[in-house]
């Protein structure tokens, strides 16, 4: 499974790189879709169907909205000449990559095998959760019972985001 995950992660990295460098904005949006749908396959391989459902639906709706925006405005990138001094940025990128790889190598020795680790808190959640919450789906039991505050926070975050969108996208009250 780790080989399949590595291949899919490589595909995601390629898609993200192409999305940055594409000349056509429509193909850039579609390349963002590669990242999202590969993430869905990763979630399914790691046995997280709840996350996979949410990710596939949200990604589809985001793609629809982005494609509509690109088709409505322009398909060519504006302000494409940002960086002229490529040498300094290449050196900076190399330094950051080396530092990141060093810290990954240090931290990866303390991790368990992928998908096998259980934290002490998670063991308490799993053990007898169906009797404690009465819900057959463990994820819903954790999200709405043990972690109710978090879910309320997420709901309020969505309301705040909608308020922000409604405030920005209005022309009537503006001068």
């Amino acid at each position: 499974m780790e080989i399949a995950l590595s291949i899919i992660t490589g595909l995601m990295i390629l898609g993200a790189l192409y999305a940055i460098h594409a000349k056509d904005l429509l193909s850039s949006v579609i390349a963002c879709g590669i990242v999202g749908y590969s993430l869905v396959i990763c979630f399914l391989l790691l046995k997280a169907p709840d996350l996979a459902i949410v990710q596939i639906v949200v990604d589809t709706i985001t793609l629809i909205i982005m494609v509509a925006v690109v088709l409505d405005s322009s398909r060519e990138e504006q302000f494409s000449k940002l960086d002229t001094n490529g040498y300094i940025s290449a050196v900076t990128a190399m330094v950051i990559i080396v530092v990141l790889l060093y810290f990954f190598a240090v931290s990866i020795q303390n991790l368990d095998v992928l998908g096998k680790s259980t934290l002490r808190m998670a063991e308490h959640y799993i053990e007898g959760a169906a009797q404690k919450t009465g819900s057959a789906n463990l994820v819903t039991g954790v999200v709405f019972d043990f972690r109710g505050y978090d879910t309320m926070g997420e709901a309020v975050v969505l309301v705040t985001a909608v308020l922000g969108v409604l405030t920005i996208l209005r022309l009537k009250g503006k001068k």
Binding site: P49, V58, V159
Partner: protein, 145 residues
């Protein structure tokens, strides 16, 4: 906003009801099968977006729809917080207390208040995503060409 061609309209007639019902199913069975309020709410919003994109609608109707959806969203959020506060009144006095009887694990009516949370969070998510979409369309219609 203009609608699309007759082929898209007919296909939307056939599909959108199914998508809506599937979203309701995911919301209601949230405590039994994978899914839940967030996933089902986004599916319901997807069916509404499909109908709006296919059929279009004039400006006044869209504005009316948007203000109505805003009220639904706020009411759903308030209901989530009210149910959470109602846990303070019954049994052990804890915020987010599961005060209803649990029932048998695996039945449709079980798990106390969790299905209620799922239903209201699903309504809230569906209406918020639909509001974001509608406000983008209204912005495009309103802005001078």
């Amino acid at each position: 906003m203009k609608g699309m061609t007759i082929i898209v309209k007919k296909t939307t007639q056939l599909i959108s009801g199914m998508v809506f019902l599937y979203g309701i199913y995911v919301i209601i069975h949230g405590h039994l099968t994978p899914g839940g309020g967030f996933a089902g709410g986004v599916i319901v919003a997807g069916s509404l977006i499909l109908v709006t994109l296919a059929y279009g609608g004039d400006f006044l109707k869209l504005v009316k729809e948007e203000s109505g959806t805003t009220i639904v969203e706020s009411l759903a959020t308030i209901m989530v917080i009210l149910i959470a506060t109602a846990g303070l009144l019954f049994g052990t006095h804890i915020f987010f207390n599961n005060f209803l009887p649990k029932g048998i694990v695996g039945h449709l009516v079980s798990a106390g208040v969790l299905p209620l949370y799922n239903i209201f969070v699903g309504t809230e998510v569906a209406s918020s995503i639909f509001i974001i979409f509608l406000s983008l369309i209204i912005f495009k219609e309103e802005s001078p060409q």
